[in-house]
Symmetry: C2
Subunit: 119 residues, 2 copies
DNA sequence: CGGTATCCTTTCGGATACTG
DNA sequence: CAGTATCCGAAAGGATACCG
């Protein structure tokens, strides 16, 4: 098994449910930054458990950084896309271009999400 | 939920286990073509059930075509990457470039799989 | 050769409640 | 606000056997 292949590993966490949406949501934020509760509300439907898991994974992969302001009350935590994280946005963009080229007839997408997508 | 988003849908089947390896294996074949048993052996570890499922999904998505030669005995079946399927290889290539830029220190990959990878 | 059918395990994600 | 802890159900994938 080629579980050591970097491409496979990358795809592995990128393809987990919610991950892409989290990255896109951070990308939309000012300074590519969002707070935990902002992500929760913006994404909608994600439970805190899963959101927390994904954020940890992405932090470990260097795709985002976690910044805690412990002086604030309640504690203020911000998540920010790193430079490499922005690289992932490029990847998503390529996928979108592929989709637009080969899946144009996907009406639901054309009319809804992708049209308002920041990509 | 944006299950109608084309990007999400695309990522959804691309990220299933084995899918990328199947696409890469087809890419390696002459004329981007491989037979069922060739895929099985080349990939290693995949069960016929899963391989069959993936091939069907990818055929439905237009990423590969299935060609059966019923005159042969036993029946000869070939799977070939389509033009849009080759586009997916490009996507993988971009991901690899991202990985090489940001994950160079992944020694196992550098020494093994990616070095011999056709990408 | 190119699959399908069955069954079983494991993994993932959802629901909910609770805490510093 | 920003999570963690527990429990549970669904779904994905693996093992194995069999068939045209």
């Amino acid at each position: 098994m080629q579980d050591t292949c970097t491409v496979n590993q990358t795809v592995k966490y990128l393809t987990k449910k919610w991950t892409l949406l989290i990255i896109l949501e951070l990308y939309k934020g000012q300074g590519y930054t969002r707070r935990f509760s902002e992500l929760r509300e913006a994404i909608g439907g994600i439970t805190p458990k899963i959101l927390s898991e994904r954020l940890k994974e992405l932090e470990e992969e260097g795709i985002l950084t976690r910044n805690v302001d412990a002086t604030a009350f309640p504690v203020k935590t911000e998540y920010t896309l790193t430079e490499s994280g922005l690289g992932i946005v490029d990847v998503i963009r390529i996928i979108k271009q592929w989709a637009l080229k080969w899946k144009i007839d996907n009406i639901p997408c054309g009319d809804q999400d992708c049209k308002v997508c920041v990509l």
